[in-house]
Subunit: 314 residues, 2 copies
């Protein structure tokens, strides 16, 4: 079972407007509200592709009730730790004219120490049945710095590989705490490591203890970096669509391969890149297009020279 | 008592972002959620200024629960008609860098005919104690065209003046149904009447039966137009601030004067323009600054020649 933890969930709203004008007043057609957060997106994708999952997160207040109701309706197995503070909201504003999506995420309220302890307790209990632990997404402002390392350590202590998708200083802390796989994008990697070269930056995380770094390059695909290996997968042409949730789909693929015992960077990278690309073709984060098998066949997978990424690190 | 009806209420959220970038992803600090809608703003302002009010509107779903809880905490007397559909949401995105506010309003779901009948029943019952009826704001998409005329007629049948703040074809229907006061802005007046000249446009509404048209001109103040009179009130300099809710504050002032038996266009216009301006100085719709008395003293009130507004009807 793939166990996902979402420390900072959100009730995701999607609004469609004719044309978003800064400073203007708009009428919006509201889509259905959805239980969101990166770990939940990972669980949704893996569940939809037939894997056993359990999504652990928090819920509080009336937004939390709506969050819980939607999650229950989704059929994704989950365990919610009740918290006093309201679950935050997030809104994606889709501009029908330009096709752009503008995303606004409330920062979220920090649970109490007791509530965090309950979340960790839930994870520890569920780890007995887990084959991989995924910790994904931001932390609420004010969350204890020890939280992410603690989650990683309870996973590793249970003998379970831990995949972490986070950013900022938490990325380095995750590497130091023993995360098995890290999945930054280029901007996050440069920001956290201060190293402009993608392969060197990824290897600095491996030097801290990670086994594999999956580095998303947007339209240029994805890199898998290990101590000994470097693999690049990409499509010939970028896909038009909604990139929100593409990284989560890649993490879901990685979790599915790890849960199956696969440790081959090229094999993991292929599925992660295909699912990421297939997520771009769907309007909602947490979904991937059934065209992923076709996309996987179109991937160009290479073992490039590390220096080939030095020219244009953006 | 001032009775306000809000046919399309909203749970208003306010989010502060550093800089709103179309197509970007933002972290937002969320302000408190608030029960919103134009009729509620009118009731809040009149209540805060010491008038007896009763705000009638609908509430449904979890957003409706949050709406009801905030309204109860606000202390504004109210009666909520339960509806099955979720109360819509509205978000104001405040750009800290530019100071702009971008507003997105969900359209809202149309109550059933039975729920509309319950709302009208509530209004009829409360009209016995009312000295003025205010119907403010949009209608949900699909709302019966007869709703607004019906609300106006039950008010007039009860011998109560009816102030209507609406736009589009509903503005003409309101005039035809016997609304006592209408409060369009220039764009709404031109759109509804097809007449570019503000005084001619306002008089066309009076020709349909209205007694007074309060025409908001934004930074140029406000006009009061009756069959025989034309009064203009404005400040020398525009105020910087949040114009959302300025029109509602003007309607609140008009309701307060009507409830006091005042029918003098100049007197009504003075208070309406002062409260409108004072609303610009506060961050939330439904509040006005206590500086309104000072602003009222600074108003320039004139009886201009109607032709003086013909040049620049925007």
């Amino acid at each position: 079972m793939i166990l996902t933890v979402t420390p900072n969930p959100a009730l995701d709203l999607t609004w469609h407007v004719d044309r978003l004008i800064e400073g203007g007043t708009h009428r919006a057609d509201a889509g259905a509200a959805r239980a969101g957060g990166k770990g939940l997106n990972v669980a949704r994708v893996a569940h939809a592709q037939g894997s056993a999952v359990l999504a652990v997160t928090t819920a509080g207040g009336r937004a939390g009730e709506e969050f819980a109701a939607e999650l229950a309706a989704s059929g994704v197995p989950h365990a919610l730790v009740p918290v006093a503070a309201d679950t935050r909201r997030s809104v994606a504003i889709v501009d029908r004219t330009l096709g752009d999506t503008t995303i606004i995420n409330e920062r979220g309220a920090n649970p109490t120490d007791l509530e965090w302890a309950a979340l960790i307790g839930e994870v520890v209990e569920r780890l007995a049945a887990a084959s991989v632990l995924v910790v994904s997404g931001s932390l609420p402002p004010g969350a204890p710095e020890t939280l992410l390392p603690l989650l990683i350590r309870v996973g590793r202590d249970a003998g379970v590989p831990v995949i972490v998708d986070t950013s900022g200083p938490a990325l380095l802390r995750a590497a130091d705490a023993g995360a098995t796989v890290l999945k930054p994008n280029m901007a996050e990697l440069v920001e956290a490591t201060g190293i402009a070269d993608p392969v060197e930056g990824a290897r600095s995380l491996i030097g801290r203890g990670a086994e594999l770094v999956l580095l998303s390059l947007g339209a240029d695909g994805m890199l898998a970096v290990t101590a000994a290996d470097l693999v690049h997968a990409r499509l010939d042409q970028p896909l038009a669509g909604n990139p929100t949730g593409a990284g989560d789909a890649g993490v879901a693929a990685c979790a599915v391969r790890y849960a199956a015992g696969d440790r081959d960077p090229a094999s993991i990278l292929r599925l992660a890149t295909a699912w990421s690309a297939a997520a771009v073709l769907t309007p909602l984060a947490g979904d991937i297009s059934s065209r992923w098998t076709e996309l996987e066949q179109q991937l160009r997978v290479s073992h490039p020279d590390p220096s080939s990424f030095r020219k244009d690190p953006s």
